[in-house]
């Protein structure tokens, strides 16, 4: 080593003076004593590990050798800052050896340590009372314990005995003790500066250290500052800190793993497990608030628990500790921060996934609801269709019978009346009532007025008009020549037979009306399963108009019917289309106005039907969506807008391979349906339930 040093120095040349100065450096040696060579070797190795080559470590196998060596050192001026000796030795007890050394003036100041597994309190006491003991190391020892012990005592030694050398050995020394010593003594401030500079250099160097090294250094620092505080061993699952609790201490995790979690609702959300870091509770302590996280051991853990005061004390004693501490803290916070950022990204990703899924579900639900509504509606229509077909069928026979019966009744009454006295007149009155064309009430009153002027009797005129005697000439020919009494009797007879005729006529016309409706209903609601060929579209339109008759009172209907070929279709389904379109038109018109129904042949194989109303028109934004399903739920009931009917219409037209379109402007809305005369699917069309009517 020395040779190598000289070669280097020689090469450097002109710096020989410096080399000589270095040679003249005072020599410091740490002595280790044990009469068991194995223990001695191990002890020397531990101490050398701490001294790191800055101090020589001398091994001695017994007390005699020590004393001899010390005498030799005394002559050479070699200093011995630290002696560690085994207590239980054959020749002499370690305690006695230390007392003996203490007698040597040159080595009174050496720091003296007993190594022992079984030293008694009396012996320690005796040694201490002679100022011959500075520390006790357990046997077996840990590296930590040796490191702590050696550094502590060396620091103490150099501060007190050899302050000149502090700079040389700074990396070996305990900073807390050092700085206190430096400030309390009146040591040159420059010394302090240089030491602190060294510290700073080391701190920068620390950044190069691995996390484990820094953590280890921190734990070491705490041990040094606080005299190796007690470790707490906690089994997996132990709660070290509970969320919300006031934090009175921090925990340094020496080994094992902990996780940090927060409670949300009824579950705990784990924020950190690998990213927890070694220092627990410091943030909460700094905020002076409750713990932010619950900290739980997930393996068996070993922790050092420090109160605020202990922490402050440790940091004050050991400047290095604060460096390591801050480094550990910054690094673990950085790790936690990264973890939080990762979590945030994960949460965002999850949230957007969930949102996408929710949208999909909502869409599916919407679709499902609409489909269901459509099904319900078409099922309802099917039921209604069947019902009306049934009703129409049931009414068909009775109304046919009534129609026939009233004819028979009229014939028989006529024959009966004819055989009565004055039968001809009564028969004439009845016949006139039966065959009279309908007259408006206005017209009747007009006739009354005219007749009243002629006969000069209002009541008589009223009666005459009522029995169909409308003119003065008729009156005169039938009644004029009779006496007043006879005339009144004849009038009463005529009135009776006239009423009879009127009733028969009314039954006739009403039953015709009913028969008409029944016929319309039957053809409208045909329960046909197969499409029928050669259907006249106009008939369907007329049936529909007849059934909607009650809504058409105030509507003028203009038909522009072209020559159409018969088409192939499901009559009842198409009737449903016409009903929807015409009802919508009437609704748009508010029940009054002009409704145009136009038909024309398109080429030879298509027909077009247009339903045109003069209502206010459909706004463009509604028009776009008019065939879409839409409906609202109001008061717990499903209500369908225009679109429900129209979307069913479009389906029906589509099944007939036709098209349906709409154009609208204020005052004119036109729905156009174009249907093929023959459609391809017709042969295998409509397997079952699809053919709804």
């Amino acid at each position: 080593m020395r040779l190598w040093g000289q070669v280097v120095l020689g090469l450097v040349g002109g710096d020989l003076v410096t080399a000589e100065t270095q040679d003249e450096r005072r020599q410091y040696v740490v002595i280790c004593v044990d009469d068991d060579p194995e223990v001695l070797a191990s002890l020397v190795a531990s101490v050398e590990g701490v001294c790191n080559g800055l101090l020589d470590v001398q091994a001695c196998e017994g007390p005699d050798e020590v004393l001899r060596l010390l005498r030799a050192y005394g002559d050479q001026g070699v200093r011995v800052p630290l002696i560690i000796t085994e207590h239980a030795m054959q020749v002499m007890l370690g305690a006695d050896l230390l007392i003996a050394i203490n007698e040597l003036a040159a080595y009174r100041e050496s720091r003296k340590v007993l190594l022992s597994g079984q030293v008694s309190i009396e012996e320690v006491g005796k040694t201490l009372s002679r100022f011959a003991l500075d520390g006790v190391l357990p046997n077996p020892w840990t590296t930590e314990e040796v490191r702590y012990c050696v550094r502590e005592l060396l620091t103490d030694y150099f501060i007190k005995e050899s302050p000149d050398e502090l700079d040389r050995f700074s990396s070996l020394l305990t900073v807390g003790r050092l700085s206190r010593a430096l400030t309390s003594s009146e040591h040159d401030r420059r010394e302090l500066d240089s030491t602190l500079k060294a510290l700073q250099r080391s701190f920068l160097g620390d950044i190069e250290m691995s996390d484990e090294d820094v953590e280890e250094a921190m734990i070491r620092g705490v041990d040094e500052a606080l005299g190796y505080p007690e470790r707490q061993h906690l089994p997996a699952g132990s709660v070290i800190l509970r969320e919300g609790e006031q934090v009175q201490s921090i925990s340094i995790v020496v080994s094992g793993e902990v996780q940090l979690s927060r409670r949300s609702g009824s579950t705990d959300i784990i924020f950190h497990s690998h990213t927890s870091g070694r220092v627990i509770g410091l943030l909460a302590l700094a905020r002076r608030g409750g713990a932010f996280f619950t900290c739980k051991a997930i393996t068996d853990v070993e922790v050092i628990v420090l109160t605020v005061e202990e922490l402050a004390d440790a940091l004050q004693k050991n400047a290095w500790l604060s460096v390591h501490f801050v480094t550990v803290l910054i690094r673990s916070l950085a790790t936690r921060n990264r973890r939080v950022a990762d979590l945030r990204v994960k949460v965002d990703t999850l949230a957007s996934d969930v949102a996408a899924e929710r949208d999909q579900l909502a869409e599916a639900l919407d679709h499902l609801e609409k489909t269901q509504a459509l099904l319900v509606e078409s099922e309802k229509m099917a039921t209604l269709g069947q019902l009306s077909a049934g009703v129409a069928h049931e009414l068909n026979n009775p109304i046919a019978a009534i129609q026939r019966a009233v004819d028979f009744l009229a014939e028989d009454m006529m024959s009966l009346v004819a055989v009565l006295p004055e039968g001809e007149i009564c028969k004439a009155a009845m016949h006139s009532a039966l065959t009279r064309a309908p007259v408006s009430t206005r017209e009747l009153r007009e006739r009354e007025r005219a007749l009243a002027a002629a006969v000069g009797d209002k009541a008589l005129a009223k009666k005459l008009v009522k029995i169909g005697v409308d003119s003065i000439s008729e009156y005169q020919s039938q009644l004029g020549r009779l006496s007043a009494r006879k005339r009144d009797r004849r009038l009463a007879d005529m009135e009776r037979y006239y009423e009879l005729g009127t009733s028969l006529r009314n039954i006739c016309s009403c039953s015709d009306h009913v028969a008409d409706i029944v016929k319309g209903l039957r053809s409208y609601a045909r329960t046909d399963q197969d499409p029928i060929s050669n259907v006249d579209v106009h008939e369907g339109l007329e049936d529909t108009l007849r059934l909607l008759g009650h809504q058409l009172r105030d509507v003028e209907i203009k038909r522009h019917f072209g020559e159409l070929p018969g088409i192939q279709c499901h009559i009842s389904q198409l009737n449903q289309v016409w009903t929807n379109l015409i009802s919508n038109a009437l609704e748009a018109m508010g029940g009054k106005g002009t409704l145009r129904i136009e038909t024309e042949a398109v080429g030879t194989d298509q027909v077009a039907i247009r339903i045109i109303d003069d209502g206010p028109g459909i706004p463009p934004d509604v028009l776009e969506k008019i065939f879409e399903l839409h409906f609202t739920t109001k008061d717990g009931r499903v209500r369908f807008g225009l679109g429900m009917g129209l979307s069913i219409c479009r389906q029906i037209v589509g099944r007939h391979e036709g098209t349906m379109s709409v154009e609208s402007k204020p005052g004119e809305t036109c729905f156009t349906v174009v249907l093929p005369v023959q459609y391809a699917r017709s042969s295998q069309d409509e397997t079952s339930g699809e053919a709804q009517s």
Binding site: P438, S440, T441, R442, L444, R445, A459, E499, T502, S503, N506, S509, C510, H550, R553, D554
Partner: protein, 163 residues
């Protein structure tokens, strides 16, 4: 015949015929007029009032072409000449809303659903006409044969007491 009038408003001639015939009991005492729509009914009312008649009772359908029956009854109720007339809705198609409107705004006196029975119709008409003549007629005697005789006699007695 008195100068009191019954007006039937109905657009379907068969129904109108039946209605008019079912109140023939009152024809000896009351003038019975028929109209097929509200416009026609208005001119009948105008004509009658011009001839110094009074409108005692209206039997009116609701679903009429053009102006509805309820609207017509409201109209009658707003005119001082016809306000006192007894008003009856004869209909199969007036919804609840229309009927409520008639009761509230037209002072509707009765509602007869189609199809009606003669007994029911006569009973309602007789009661309402009796009400009307007791309130409005100077001479009650001409009505004793066709209207509610006991009530008319009772009314006559009270009139004598008052005089």
């Amino acid at each position: 015949m008195t100068n009191f009038m019954i007006l039937c408003v109905e657009d379907e001639s068969e129904v109108r015929d039946a209605l008019v015939r079912d109140i023939q009991t009152f024809a000896s005492t009351f003038r019975i007029e028929a109209a097929e729509d509200v416009e026609d009914a208005r001119s009948v009312v105008e004509e009658c009032l011009g001839e110094d008649n009074e409108l005692a009772l209206v039997l009116c359908d609701h679903m009429l072409p053009g102006t509805s029956g309820v609207e017509f009854l409201v109209e009658l109720n707003q005119s001082p000449h016809t306000r006192l007339a007894r008003k009856v809705l004869v209909t199969g198609q007036a919804g609840l809303d229309d009927t409520i409107q008639a009761v509230n705004k037209a002072d509707l006196h009765a509602y007869i659903a189609k199809p009606w029975s003669r007994v029911e119709l006569e009973e309602v008409v007789r009661k309402l006409l009796t009400d009307y003549v007791v309130d409005e007629a100077d001479d009650l005697l001409p009505f004793v044969n066709v209207l509610d005789a006991p009530r008319l006699l009772e009314a006559l007695k009270q009139r004598e007491v008052r005089e």
